[in-house]
């Protein structure tokens, strides 16, 4: 069942004749999931920074 | 006078005060239709073939155009919030408003489509089918675009957002109507499809006003 279907690694990456269609799609999948992960992390960082800024502002108000 | 009568009377008076609201969408429809031969070719066979579909889409756009701001002025004048104090459920009043809108604003639009049909040399039997589909389908379209108008009431820069949001929901109506037109061209039985289209309209007309009233209440709750 688990038999590598291609003669060589090069043949795997070429995936004749459809490599040009298959590989970019998987690249895109990686890009989208990776990109969204990055966007989430950035949004999270920004939220924390905003709370921090508010805290600092409150401190200067009080002093 | 009952609220229902007062509502219809007010609608009629508003039309008398702003006749442009009725004529502009009609003008738009005829204008779009006259662009078609200019963009294609004045070949009457080709025009007749795509004519009914073009008219359908143009009517759809014109309808969206004149329903987009259905509640806007009443909302910003603060008249809409007075509806909540009337002795009727809001959904009923909304339904009434939609009926009035269909009668006075959408019906005239349907009634001039034969002129558009003549311009594109659509055959008579297809033209009749076109008129019937518009009659049967526009109540659903009016309800949905009313919902789009109500959902976007609160946002000041909504633009055509209500249209963009609601357009995908028109897909079944457009498909069924196109099916009727194809069958009419073939000369086969259109009744089952018309019945489906009618059923869609009836269900939309009973359920969508509830959603519209929820959207209006929500936007009143948020206006300061």
């Amino acid at each position: 069942m688990l038999e590598f279907q291609f003669a060589s690694l090069a043949a795997f990456f070429e995936m004749a004749p459809h490599g040009v269609y298959v590989w970019p799609i998987y690249g895109l999948g990686l890009l989208v999931i990776g990109g969204l992960t990055w966007v989430n992390a950035r949004q999270h960082r920004q939220a924390i920074r905003m709370v921090q800024r508010n805290l600092e502002r409150e401190e200067t108000h009080e002093s | 006078m009952s609220i229902e009568k007062r509502m219809l009377a007010r609608e009629l008076k508003l039309i008398a005060a702003r006749p442009g609201d009725i004529f502009k969408p009609m003008w738009f429809l005829i204008l779009v239709i006259s662009m078609v031969p200019l963009a294609l070719a004045p070949d009457s066979d080709l025009l007749a073939e795509i004519g009914s579909a073009m008219i359908w889409v143009a009517t759809l756009l014109a309808l969206l155009l004149n329903t987009e701001h259905l509640f806007q002025s009443d909302f910003s004048d603060g008249v809409l919030e007075q509806w909540l104090f009337l002795d009727r459920p809001l959904a009923w009043l909304v339904g009434l408003k939609l009926v009035a809108h269909w009668l006075f604003h959408v019906l005239p639009l349907i009634l001039i489509t034969p002129i558009a049909g003549l311009m594109l040399s659509v055959p008579t039997e297809v033209l009749i089918a076109l008129l019937i589909t518009l009659f049967v389908a526009t109540p659903a379209l009016t309800c949905f675009s009313g919902l789009g108008a109500a959902l976007t009431l609160g946002s000041s820069r909504s633009g055509i957002l209500g249209v963009l949001v609601m357009m995908p929901l028109f897909v079944p109506v457009v498909i069924l109507a196109a099916g009727v037109l194809i069958r009419a061209t073939d000369g086969s039985d259109t009744l089952p499809l018309l019945a489906l289209l009618g059923a869609f309209s009836v269900v939309a007309a009973t359920l969508v006003p509830i959603a519209v009233s929820a959207a209006i209440r929500l936007n009143i709750g948020g206006s300061n």
């Binding site: - | 006078m1 609220i3 007062r6 509502m7 009377a9 007010r10 008076k13 508003l14 005060a17 702003r18 002025s73 009443d74 910003s76 004048d77 603060g78 008249v79 919030e81 007075q82 909540l84 104090f85 009337l86 002795d87 009143i220 709750g221 300061n224």
Partner: protein
């Protein structure tokens, strides 16, 4: 006409808007014959309180009861005039009133003459001045018999005479057993009222 006695009970009302606490633990009792002025600086929640009482805003926390019953049952007995125009510019003065009230034309016309719009009933609202437009909206106070009046900034854009007329009308209304709640920045002179000061929450 004389109204049945009415009691409005607000208990433990709390409201937050845009992450700001407007008021909390707000409890008031109002009875027939009382006038309440809701005062406070801009943004203190005056409009919010009035709109909550009128059922236009959902209650976030707390309770409002009219004669021990929930607000919903009493909506038809409320006359709310907000700070928006409440009138349609493209309609005539009379048509505007006709839509919002179920009163015959003679009563409407006498209400219009009470607010100094005699002879204006056929004019379009957009042809009127701002003060006259406001009078048109207020004309409903003379022809609708709702016991509970909730008026947001009723004195805005009114001249001295109209202010006096309005004061007199409110006095007459509460003498008949009605209740009136209103907001204003300039305290009216000829009116006996209680004041609820908002804006002291932190």
């Amino acid at each position: 006409m004389i109204f049945e006695p009415i009691q409005i009970e607000i208990s433990q009302l709390r409201c937050e808007r845009d992450d700001r606490l407007l008021f909390k633990n707000l409890s008031i009792k109002l009875e027939s014959g009382q006038i309440l002025r809701v005062a406070g600086p801009n943004g203190a929640g005056k409009t919010t309180l009035l709109r909550t009482l009128a059922g236009l805003f959902d209650i976030q926390e707390g309770e409002i009861r009219f004669n021990q019953q929930p607000l919903k049952e009493y909506l038809e007995r409320i006359l709310y005039i907000g700070h928006k125009p409440q009138v349609t510019k493209d309609l005539t003065v009379l048509d505007n009133l006709k839509f919002l009230t179920d009163v015959d034309e003679t009563a409407l016309k006498s209400a219009l003459s009470a607010v100094g719009l005699k002879g204006y009933h056929d004019s379009l609202v957009k042809e009127l001045s701002q003060g006259q437009g406001r009078r048109c909206a207020l004309a409903r106070l003379w022809c609708v018999d709702a016991p509970i009046w909730i008026l947001d900034e009723p004195y805005t854009a009114l001249d001295v005479d109209m202010v006096k007329t309005l004061d007199a009308r409110i006095t007459e209304h509460v003498a008949n057993g009605g209740i009136c709640l209103f907001t204003t920045h300039q305290p009216p002179q000829q009116l006996g009222y209680q004041t609820l000061e908002l804006g002291h929450v932190d």
